[in-house]
């Protein structure tokens, strides 16, 4: 911009303050487009294309729905209160599973890292257990716990637990040897070295596990709700899909996407604050 603005000013033979301002303005516009505007344009474009495609009959509305239908469904769901209660059911199960799975995973991870004997005994089973697709456990948990929140929580915990465990364990094991040496030479007792050097050093790794856990606990809860549940967004999806209410399915998916994004944002903020020394 400035390249074209500069000779133009010279050509005019006098000081032209307007010209550079125009250049600056369009640069600002371009910056805005790049950061926020671009994605918005892309989204609006896709929605318009979808709407037009549905209206013109390029795609079947009965199987692909349309943005306006999805919006209408969303408003209906919200108005009936069903969306709110399903959202709360899913959120509660998810938070309970995190509240159980994260401390448990951290504790066992630390235990295995600190006590090699226990690690040798248990670790041959960890990878096979963790490689079971956890959704496959849902029917079992439903039989054990009934069609309750506990079944959803159990599935989500079985995911979160391993995720946090592996991260906590590797975080502990990768403790900085220089820092440990320094601490030993300062005469710090063994337990305090663990508490003051090893444990804080493993927090970034544990947080990586927590970040994943938030995403995957939602997966566990929703998937279990799709297998057997009385409430929750997963059930809502199944219900809408079996009624061929595709707009309803999209509406719930939209809610899930927004919900998961907000959660990821909150966890990201918390992580940034806790690890502000990094």
């Amino acid at each position: 911009m400035s390249v074209t603005a500069f000779p133009a000013t010279v050509g005019a033979g006098g000081p032209g303050p307007q010209k550079p301002q125009v250049g600056e303005g369009s640069r600002r516009l371009r910056g805005l487009l790049g950061s926020v505007g671009g994605p918005v344009v892309l989204l609006v474009g896709a929605l318009v294309l979808w709407e037009v495609a549905a209206a013109r009959g390029w795609v079947a509305v009965s199987t692909f729905s349309s943005p306006s239908l999805v919006w209408a469904e969303l408003r209906d769901l919200a108005a009936s209160g069903a969306l709110g209660s399903d959202l709360i059911a899913t959120l509660t199960a998810m938070l309970v599973s995190l509240a159980i799975g994260i401390p448990l995973g951290v504790f066992v991870g630390l235990l295995l890292a600190a006590v090699p004997a226990v690690d040798r005994l248990v670790s041959p089973f960890l990878v096979p257990l963790n490689s079971i697709p956890r959704i496959a456990l849902a029917p079992l948990f439903v039989i054990w716990f009934g069609i309750t929140m506990n079944a959803k929580v159990a599935v989500a915990v079985s995911i979160v637990f391993f995720m946090v465990l592996f991260n906590a364990k590797s975080g502990i094991k990768s403790a900085d040897t220089d820092m440990m040496m320094v601490a030993r030479m300062l005469g710090i007792p063994r337990w305090s070295i663990f508490r003051k050097v090893v444990l804080p050093g493993s927090v970034p790794a544990i947080f990586a596990g927590v970040r994943l856990s938030v995403t995957y606990s939602l997966l566990g809860v929703v998937a279990t709700e799709m297998v057997a549940a009385r409430d929750g967004l997963g059930l809502s999806i199944v219900r809408n899909a079996t009624n061929f209410n595709i707009g309803g399915v999209f509406a719930v998916l939209l809610v899930l996407a927004v919900f998961a994004t907000v959660l990821a944002f909150v966890v990201g903020r918390a992580e940034k604050w806790i690890l502000r020394w990094q």
Binding site: D178, L186, P200, W277
Partner: protein
């Protein structure tokens, strides 16, 4: 300006004349490791090393890598036991890290989640001190190493030289009578290195000679060893052994004189002479290179 108490407050008082915790006696020490690459074989890190170091002496251990100087330091630190012989610090065999010994590495080892001040306080947290006492001592020490304004910064916000200064403050905080330093300035660029050498020497020389801490300073930098130490022990590798043990007669205090000392005839002569001892064993092509 030196507000920090560096006195020997932790001297045991059980005997009439107890050996100081800064006194070192290494008697016929050998260290062998199991060779991981060849089963059943052992690697000799040190063979029959004897060394007596008086309290308050600044000794530099110089040698190429593999000559066992870090092994020797780890013996003194209580991180390692000798295969044969005895390592006495303060008249007793060292079987664990002693509270009267301070240790400093090439890497600062600062805890990145603690502020600089809190890092300096680390070693005091397990020695009957209260919070205000610790904080004041840390602040004084940071002042001493020129980091008074950076007490609340996190280590990542400091340059490498500043981090190493913080490490010095942390090491001094517990008032050690013996300082073990494993190439403490090796990771620094030449200018920062000189300024830290000067700084460390200034702090160490501030004490009157009879109250100075004992320093065992491992380095592969001959110039550094000659500049700082009272006594220079040259070690040679395969197997690790003491080759030269020489007193350096440069006057003290030297901290303000470092750049002048570097260009004196005496320094140059010492340097050349020891360089030949040190590199003669390492570089088999030396004679060839001279002929060309």
């Amino acid at each position: 300006m030196e507000a920090v108490n560096v006195g020997h407050t932790q001297c045991p008082t059980t005997l009439s004349e107890p050996p100081s915790a800064g006194e070192i006696d290494i008697v016929g020490v050998s260290v062998e490791f199991r060779d991981r690459t060849r089963r059943g074989r052992t690697l000799t890190a040190l063979t029959d090393v004897s060394l007596q170091i008086a309290r308050g002496q600044f000794v530099a251990l110089v040698g190429a890598s593999g000559c066992g100087k870090t092994t020797l330091l780890n013996l003194l630190a209580g991180e390692l036991r000798p295969t044969a012989g005895q390592v006495l610090v303060g008249g007793r065999p060292v079987d664990r890290p002693l509270p009267t010994t301070g240790y400093m590495l090439a890497r600062d080892g600062l805890l990145p989640w603690r502020s600089v001040r809190s890092n300096v306080e680390l070693g005091l947290e397990h020695r009957r001190t209260n919070r205000t006492e610790r904080s004041e001592r840390a602040q004084d020490l940071l002042q001493l190493v020129g980091l008074g304004d950076f007490a609340d910064a996190y280590p990542r916000q400091l340059s490498q030289g500043m981090r190493q200064r913080a490490a010095i403050a942390r090491t001094l905080a517990t008032e050690p009578e013996l300082l073990l330093m494993d190439e403490p300035f090796a990771a620094l660029d030449a200018r920062t290195k000189l300024s830290l050498q000067r700084e460390f020497l200034r702090i160490w020389e501030t004490e009157s000679p009879e109250r100075r801490r004992t320093v065992v300073f491992v380095t592969h930098d001959l110039q550094e060893a000659l500049l700082l130490a009272d006594r220079l022990v040259v070690m040679l590798p395969r197997p690790g052994r003491v080759a030269v043990d020489r007193t350096i007669d440069l006057p003290r205090p030297r901290s303000t004189e470092l750049s002048r000392i570097l260009f004196t005839e005496e320094f140059r002569r010492n340097y050349q002479n020891l360089f030949e001892v040190l590199e003669g064993d390492v570089d088999p092509d030396r004679d060839l290179a001279v002929e060309q």
